[in-house]
Amino acid sequence: MMMPVRTSILAAAAGLLMAANAAAGNLVVNDKITQQLPLDISGSFWIDNPVGDIEIVGIDKPGVSVTAVKTVIAADHASLKEGREQTVISFEGDKSVRLIRTLLPVVHTGDWNSSVAYTIRVPRTVHVRVAAKIARNIHIVNIRGNVTVKSFTGLIRLDDVNGASIVDTVNGKVVYKYTQRPTVNAQIQAVNADIDVHLPPDSNINWIADTLRGDVLTNLPVRAEFQGSVFRGTVNAPGGPIVSTQTLVGNVRLLGNGLDLQKLRSLRQVAISEPQPRERAMLLATPSRRIQLPIAGGAFDFATSVGDVSVGEVRGPARIQTAAGEIELGLVYGDCTVGSGGGPLDLGDIMGTLNAHTGAGDVQVRSAKEGGRISTDGGMIRLLYTSGPTTLESGGGDIIVRQAAGPINAETKSGDITITADPNQKSQKMVARTGQGNIILNLHPRFAADIDATVLTADSQANAIHSDFPGLQIERERAGSKTRIHATGKLNGGGERIELSAEDGDIHITTVTLAPVTVVPPLP
């Protein structure tokens, strides 16, 4: 009774597909090929199919049975003909190693695309190796030999595969179902895919799960700990095979066959349930969260492994840490401590002391009322306004301070430094050092300072220190293969010390008259 129903559903689906293709003006043709090939029960079976589904089923007799359906979709008859001719199925190898390949041209002129869907029966003791790019479904069933699958996108299902296995994919999902307790190692590696492993509840395995943005969940008894983003533990008794599950941004689930899915628990939540110091290792163990909040009513304290943070206003101190992600804050009433293992920081008006660091990426700050410390291991720093002592450090990248109303200490390994002093400042201590790059210091014409500027340059002819202020004494001397240019002098009779040092660049001390920026204090 069921068969006619299923057939009619498939027929309807095929009809719909054809109608859709017809409406789109496409021509579709399916060519079916069947082939019987010899293969020893201890042999290997390889298949390389760039586009199309693959099903491999292990059976209890020698030889390979292949059914391939080649589908070509084309805009016109000429393209259809070309597609049919240029989509080639190649049967290669011998009874020890059998290889099936779908050959497609790297580029083709006609307006067509094709795929091949394979259904294959092999001796269940053989070793299987699958290479694919786009496969909606790769399904491998009942294999005792080793299995290797490498794909790019789609669902990969391994049912009752008991040999050593390696699965490597980028997008999609991996579902691995053991019907018997695992006895050999399995390694599943993905980038964006979720990974589900089902196994008998009494299995003994060593489980490794690693995900940066996703979660690690199980309903089995596990003893384990996080080491950074990597979870290492044992299921039931130790000493079993290693099941390694690694995905960058997907979830990892280890499920007991027949156990209640409602009992799934997040191991990351368990790991951080007790108060822990916020070391980097623990930060990576915390669940990945992305937060977007218009207003935090008081103190805001947030930590995540991987995730972006965006808060419009924090009415109190802010303390934010992410192992990787962008941090965007509008207005912070109190002190502000933000740290990202990598990712840009975009901070607005910080009324308290600012302490901001990113492992990599640009940092932009609108204003730091009390100054503070801003650093990146690599990237540009742009600070529009500061009225407190401020230290800026970059492992490589420009540093720009648009209006400095407080002492500045800026240092970059490589990049330009541009500092504009607040026009209301009569004198201010400043230090700027760049390992490779230029320094531009913009000062009000009445700014008073003791200047000590040094350029070390390979260009002996370079006129490397320029000043709009009169009275600087410039000395030039050889320093090994380079030339050291040293300028000292007093601006407007002298004042706070300004120390500038640039290598392989030049220094400009210029006069500017700017209207001062006013930073509006927050309403009480």
Binding site: K133, I134, F152, T153, V170, N171, Q189, V191, N192, L212, R213, Q246, L248, V249, L284, V306, A323, A324, G325, S340, G341, G342, G343, G359, A360, G361, D362, T376, D377, G378, G379, M380, G395, G396, G397, D398, T412, K413, S414, G415, D416, T434, Q436, G437, N438, D452, T457, A458, D459, Q461, A462, N463, R478, A479, G480, R484, H486, D504, G505, D506
Partner: protein
């Protein structure tokens, strides 16, 4: 031995540029912050300068004999000599020689008879035509009048950029060559493109020039209609080769803003940066550019996809770079 003593011993070596770079830097730093040593150093330099001005005369034989005799008497008999002391002894001997030389010269200059030169008659063999030099010559040349082919490797200095008229698109590039030259024209003029490309790619030039040039290029060539494949190619070369990390960051960012990432050469430069650049900010800019390219629906070649895949899985890479690589892969259509 105090730091000041050590530095003073190093001063003769510093004077003759014989110190290794590390010690040279240490010596200069110390001299800059220590007023006493600074004074000492100024004295040394003044003596050295005066030595160059003094006439060369023979040391009186009596002085020479006394000096040689004193060295002979004080020569150490020990067979093992401390490594550090050797330098100081050698330089003290040299310093003593300088003192003797200066003293001898002074003695000879004041006690000896004044030097008399016999006048010699002058003859004129030929007369060259008078040369007229102009001071501070500056020329403005339209880009259309300049050949797009740059011959040789001209030495360009003091490059600056001018927007003479903000109401039009014309730009000006000023630089010193044999005279001060300003080339003006549209950003798309081939000569202007070649000139900027030369400044960007010429590794002999200062990185400060390239840094400013990239700022200018970013502002100018990011505008619609101004993007130029030669500029993109030059930026790709800067991204691959420049030793200046700040410049490489700007190059990657400019390439992204110019929308030039679709070109295969540019893409290769980004992949190279993503794979090899030691600065994480450069790698972030590169992976973001590739991610934007993938998300725009462009088809990425297998090498790019494989690089992104490797980066996503590289456990020692910055996590943000890995996540961005994963995001790019999620949008890829292989």
């Amino acid at each position: 031995m105090s730091e000041c003593d050590f530095m003073r011993e190093s001063m003769p070596l510093l004077l003759t540029e014989s110190l290794d770079p590390v010690r040279r830097e240490q010596a200069h730093s110390h001299i800059e912050r220590c007023p006493t040593c600074g004074e000492e150093w100024n004295g040394y330099r003044e003596s050295w300068r005066m030595l160059g001005e003094l006439p060369e005369v023979e040391v009186p034989p009596a002085v020479k004999e006394r000096f040689l005799a004193s060295i002979g008497e004080e020569a150490p008999a020990a067979t093992v000599v401390s490594f550090w002391r050797r330098t100081s002894v050698r330089w003290m001997a040299r310093a003593a020689a300088v003192v003797v030389l200066v003293g001898g010269s002074y003695y000879a200059g004041h006690r000896g008879a004044p030097l008399q030169l016999e006048p010699t008659p002058a003859t004129i063999n030929s007369v060259a035509p008078a040369v007229r030099y102009s001071i501070a010559e500056s020329r403005v040349i339209p880009a259309t009048a300049v050949s797009p082919t740059i011959e040789g490797r001209p030495n360009i200095h003091n490059i600056s950029f001018i927007d003479t008229n903000p109401s039009d698109d014309d730009i000006g590039v000023s630089f010193d060559i044999t005279s001060h030259v300003t080339v003006t024209g549209r950003p798309t003029d081939k000569s202007m493109v070649r000139l900027l490309r030369y400044v960007l790619e010429n590794e002999d030039r200062l990185s400060s020039s390239r840094s400013r040039t990239i700022d200018w290029v970013r502002a100018t060539y990011s505008r619609p209609g101004n993007a130029d494949p030669e500029i993109a190619e030059a930026l790709g070369n800067v991204l691959r080769n420049d030793a200046h990390e700040g410049v490489r960051i700007k190059a990657a960012e400019t390439l992204q803003r110019m929308g030039a990432t679709a070109a295969s050469d540019t893409r290769e430069a980004l992949i190279h940066a993503l794979k090899n650049d030691p600065n994480p900010a450069v790698r972030i800019k590169a992976v973001e550019a590739l991610a934007n390219l993938a998300q725009s629906g462009a088809t990425l070649d297998p090498a790019t996809v494989e690089t992104l895949r490797q980066k996503a899985m590289q456990s020692d890479e910055n996590v943000y770079v890995r996540v961005k690589a994963a995001e790019a892969l999620s949008a890829v259509h292989p």
